[in-house]
């Protein structure tokens, strides 16, 4: 197993003055192998989204270092970070965040176009995989919440990212739809051997990853390991 992600003493603080007011992350250490999965638990405001943003290269830690595949993210420029997100990371959000003016097809194609390889077959293949083979021409507003989330998953996975970051992907969905989505994420991750970090509040989602971590007062604690 090769190591994909390593966090070394990562801290994040938000401050309005010289002192830290909020300390969502405090000296967090973590190693994740290629293809492994983890679930991140924690109360609201505990820093889960902050954690994902730092790992995903959207935000930078106040101190500490983050490595991806041996590259130190914390040393990269903004442009390189954008490039990193473009190539390696797939984000899935609680509120889908599809572009309302782009068709489903265009939404899914977008990441490929950003990389410069607009491969339509690949996009169609992914829409097939998430069970929406006929949605290509439709606009997102015509789809149900569950269907929109499937499109969002297709958009996150179309570029075959090594890392998938999901922030409460089932938070806005009913239980049945949520389960379908989870199975889908499970499937595509196995297919691509992608690493998954998923934030969830739902007990029904815990099966997707063997290791469950919890953020508490800025500390990352390993809570459960399922075999």
């Amino acid at each position: 197993m090769t190591e994909l992600i390593r966090l070394e003493n990562v801290s994040k603080c938000y401050s309005s003055g010289p002192n830290c007011d909020v300390f969502p992350l405090f000296s967090v250490n973590l190693e994740l192998d290629q293809g492994s999965r983890m679930i991140l638990l924690g109360k609201s405001g505990s820093g889960k989204s902050t954690f994902l943003n730092i790992v995903g290269g959207v935000d930078t830690p106040t101190s500490g270092r983050v490595f991806f595949n041996g590259t130190e993210l914390t040393a990269l420029s903004q442009a390189d970070l954008a490039n990193y997100r473009r190539k390696e990371v797939g984000f899935i959000f609680q509120s889908f965040n599809l572009f309302p003016t782009l068709t489903v097809g265009e939404n899914v194609m977008l990441p490929l176009e950003l990389v410069g390889t607009p491969n339509k077959e690949k996009a169609i293949e992914l829409l097939d995989a998430v069970g929406l083979p006929d949605a290509w021409q439709k606009f997102p507003e015509l789809l149900s919440g569950g269907e929109q989330q499937r499109v969002a998953i297709a958009r996150a996975l179309v570029k075959t990212p090594k890392l998938i970051l999901a922030d409460e992907p089932t938070g806005n969905l009913d239980q049945d739809t949520g389960n379908t989505i989870l199975k889908l994420i499970d499937n595509v991750c196995s297919l691509n051997n992608a690493t998954l970090i998923m934030v969830t509040h739902s007990q029904d989602a815990l099966w997707i990853a063997p290791r469950h971590y919890r953020l508490r007062s800025g500390r990352l604690e390993l809570e459960t390991v399922i075999n």
């Binding site: 965040n97 572009f99 990441p111």
Partner: protein, 839 residues
């Protein structure tokens, strides 16, 4: 929740969005400012000539003037002795310039000091016998001048002045000042001379310009007993005559200012809409925690009203400044085209301020009503998505298209109806502009959709694609900004195309009528200063000169309305000039010699005279009938021109004065050589002897100067339109910030985001330009056929100038680029911010 609490709450908002509020404020002030400026200019011009008429009439209750431009001195006695006349004073009233006072023109009044003393306070009354004697009989004609003018040019009593009379210099002597306490608020420069000296000096021996009267009986008695061709008027009807001459000029100015205001309303609307939309969450929240809808809307309208008040206030000041700095230019244009006005100052009166403020308020209200309606109909649910508003806007666009089509048809109908009243011409222009503004949302939506796909497919430009789709996504916002910009641009294109076409037509007309090699045409021609006889004798017999052609233009009254009578020499012109005959032909020249008349289009239009009609012209021999044998295109005066042959004129009017001449040289003779001979022989003609091309350039120069104020108005409306684009881009930025952030998560770097944002501005500019090109051409058509023709009576051939389009496009693109810089700067500072707000 109380109203004031809400208001306070709202002002918090303005603190955070001070830049936007500032832009909106500027929109109101610009619109109001232009309206105020135009009104001030109009009012000041009117006030100037009406105070001048009042002053010059003095205590006179009436005046006798001539329908054919001059009163025979012989007629004075019979009028003076009429039983209803209590007092009478003969007057020479002529404009002139002197070398010493440069470009300040002077109104010279020739009076009889004994007869005039009962009329005016400024006759050299108090003067002792000696100075009266000088006034009457100095070998060098004596003159009293306005004190202000003398001071300005550092002239002292005893100085000699050089009057430029038809380019010939004549000396006069300054013997005293007219006290400003006498001339009051009059801004015009006055010179008072003895009547005999003035007649001699200005070549009016044996004639009078006016006879001022105090009547104690029934004016009708006198009116009936007046000699042929003379009419009785009073100060008010003279004002009304001058006023009506300016009517079209002022109407056009006013229409331009309304268009500027139209764009201003768009901007206000844009801002209010934005301020409501971006506060929707706040408002829903306020409603949920118990404030009622009515006070919410009330607070919103109150806040807009305050903004309107502030904007109007600044607008009034701005307008005053614009008027203050442009009044000289406008009054010199009026003097050039119509008659002398000398506007000393612009006076901001309470009614004008009030009208400016009212205009600002109405504009603000119009701009605010729709957005408040939005608030009123939106259910108080927190988190109504922006998308649902866009959905509504999106479904609305079809209806707007239909409405636009209705306005288009109405506008076409109004253009047709302009034959009944010029009002419909302006309505048509407004309707057309509105129609295209209404077409904007639908066409913009389609355009951006295809443009996006095109940019991606053809140029492989993802940022271009996203930019196009973003514009489409915020249609409610962008289409308004694009429509506002398109309105401003179409006005620019329409007016510029009109001016270009007009200029081309004028140039063609000049080419056709200016065939001589050398023109001696003093600037004072318009003031009726005849050329010296010996000049014509000398060059008429010069072997180098093939033909010498004499021109004169006189003011005549046809049915009580002012028009121009042009006297020309048919035998020479028929073979040389290429008149643009609208009706009639080269053959018509033969009729002219026999006593027929050519009329200009504008005369035919104003007096409803058609080819084949006969018209009656006032002559010293009474009304004489002239058959109309041709209608020509002639842009020399919008009052209309009648052209008759010189032989006929000489016979009927008993007058052979010449104001300008054209020399046709023999082949091989050098124009420059003859020119310098004339100058050497006749001192003072340096600036007056011009070649054919110089003459043409001078006329076109006046043309260009006339349309110079248009450029200012154009610039302002363009500015207003561009402020709209900047506001819209800020709005998109705020409303779609979550979309923009998702793009950051997907790996768009800040450079790409910035480029995308700038493309948005450029796309809006490009589309506004496309709409404006179509609308502008439609407007040109309306301006030329339904406004210009209806107000001036002349036709223009429409010519498209690619340069106008190119210039407008590049200006727009540059300006859109500039107005997207600040929003882009703001956008790039957002970075890929960590907090992607969950909705």
């Amino acid at each position: 929740m109380s109203f004031t609490t809400l208001l306070k709450f709202n002002f918090r908002y303005y603190k955070r969005h001070s830049l936007l509020a500032l832009l909106c404020l500027m929109g109101i002030s610009l619109g109001v400012g232009i309206v105020i400026a135009v009104e001030l200019i109009n009012v000041s011009a009117l006030a100037s000539f009406s105070s001048s008429i009042d002053f010059l009439s003095g205590k006179a209750s009436h005046s006798v003037v001539s329908n054919y431009g001059r009163i025979d001195e012989e007629d004075f006695r019979s009028i003076w002795t009429d039983k209803s006349v209590a007092a009478a004073s003969p007057v020479i009233d002529v404009m002139g310039t002197t070398v010493e006072t440069g470009s300040d023109s002077i109104r010279f009044l020739g009076i009889d000091p004994f007869l005039d003393s009962s009329f005016r306070a400024w006759t050299p009354q108090g003067a002792d016998d000696k100075s009266l004697l000088i006034f009457l009989s100095n070998p060098v004609p004596a003159v009293y001048l306005s004190e202000g003018l003398a001071k300005k040019h550092k002239l002292k009593t005893g100085d000699q002045l050089t009057v430029l009379k038809a380019g010939i210099e004549k000396k006069i002597k300054l013997i005293g000042m007219i006290d400003p306490s006498v001339s009051g608020s009059l801004t015009e420069n006055i010179g008072v001379m003895d009547i005999a000296a003035a007649q001699e000096l200005f070549g009016r021996t044996g004639r009078l310009d006016r006879i001022d009267l105090v009547i104690n009986g029934d004016p009708e008695d006198l009116r009936n007993s007046l000699p042929q061709g003379l009419v009785l008027t009073d100060a008010n009807s003279r004002k009304a005559t001058l006023n009506s001459i300016l009517y079209s000029f002022q109407l056009n100015l006013a229409a331009m200012s309304l268009l500027a205001l139209f764009v201003g309303v768009f901007l206000i609307y844009n801002f209010s809409m934005f301020s409501v939309l971006s506060r929707r969450e706040d408002m829903s929240l306020l409603l949920t925690i118990g404030s009622d809808r009515r006070s919410l809307i009330g607070a919103f309208i109150a806040e807009s009203t305050l903004l309107g008040a502030a904007g109007s206030f600044i607008g009034v000041i701005f307008g005053y400044l614009v008027a203050y700095f442009s009044i000289n230019m406008v009054s010199s244009t009026i003097s050039q085209l119509y008659y002398q006005v000398n506007v000393g100052s612009v006076g901001l009166t309470f009614p004008i301020v009030l009208s400016g403020v009212a205009v600002g308020f109405v504009a603000t209200l119009v701009g605010v009503i729709l957005p408040s309606f939005e608030v009123a109909v939106t259910p108080p649910v927190i988190g109504i998505k922006r998308q649902s508003i866009e959905d509504r806007a999106s479904s609305l666009k079809g209806w707007l298209l239909v409405l636009g089509a209705v306005f288009f048809i109405l506008s076409a109908f109004c253009a047709w109806a302009s034959r009944f009243s010029i009002f419909w011409g302006f309505t048509s222009a407004f309707g057309m502009t509105l129609a295209f503004a209404l077409f904007t949302p639908y066409s913009l939506s389609i355009f951006t959709h295809h443009l996006g796909t095109f940019l991606k497919k053809t140029f492989n430009s993802l940022t271009g694609f996203l930019a196009a789709r973003n514009v489409k996504a915020s249609l409610s916002r962008t289409s308004i900004a694009v429509a506002a910009l398109a309105v401003a641009l179409s006005m620019t294109i329409g007016v510029d195309t009109m001016i270009y076409s007009f200029r081309t037509s004028v140039a063609d007309w000049l080419d056709g009528s200016l065939q001589g090699d050398i023109y001696i045409s003093p600037e004072t021609t318009k003031w009726d200063h005849p050329l010296p006889e010996d000049l014509m004798e000398k060059f008429g017999s010069d072997p180098r000169v093939d033909w010498l052609e004499k021109y004169s233009t006189f003011d005549i009254y046809i049915d009580g309305r002012l028009a121009k009578l042009r006297v020309l020499e048919s035998e020479i012109l028929s073979g040389k000039a290429r008149f643009n005959f609208i009706q009639g032909s080269q053959e018509s020249w033969k009729e002219l010699v026999k006593g027929a008349a050519f009329i200009s289009e504008s005369l035919g239009f104003r007096f409803g005279i058609k080819l084949g009609d006969t018209m009656k012209l006032p002559t010293p021999k009474g009304l004489i009938e002239f058959p109309v044998v041709a209608i020509t295109r002639d842009y020399s005066s919008d009052q209309g021109t009648v052209q008759i042959d010189r032989n006929i004129y000489r016979k009927l009017w008993g007058d052979d004065r010449v104001q300008s001449i054209a020399l046709f040289l023999r082949p091989g003779v050098s124009t420059e050589e003859v020119k310098s001979d004339i100058i050497a022989e006749f001192k003072g003609l340096e600036r007056t002897v011009v070649s054919n091309t110089q003459m043409r350039d001078t006329v076109l120069g006046i043309f260009d100067k006339t349309f110079a104020p248009t450029a200012t108005l154009k610039g302002v409306s363009l500015l207003v339109g561009l402020l709209g684009v900047a506001t819209a881009m800020m709005a998109i930025l705020m409303e779609r910030s979550s979309d923009i952030k998702v793009l950051g998560y997907l790996g768009l770097n800040s450079g790409q985001l910035g480029r995308m944002n700038i493309y948005q501005g450029l796309i809006m500019g490009l589309f506004a330009f496309l709409i404006a090109s179509l609308c502008g051409m439609a407007l040109t058509y309306i301006i030329v056929h339904a406004i210009n023709f209806r107000s001036f009576g002349w036709s223009i051939d429409i010519k498209l100038n690619p340069w106008v389009f190119f210039e407008t496009l590049s200006l727009t693109m540059a300006a859109c680029f500039a107005s997207s810089l600040y929003p882009t700067f703001r956008l790039m500072r957002i970075k890929s911010a960590p907090a992607l707000k969950e909705e």
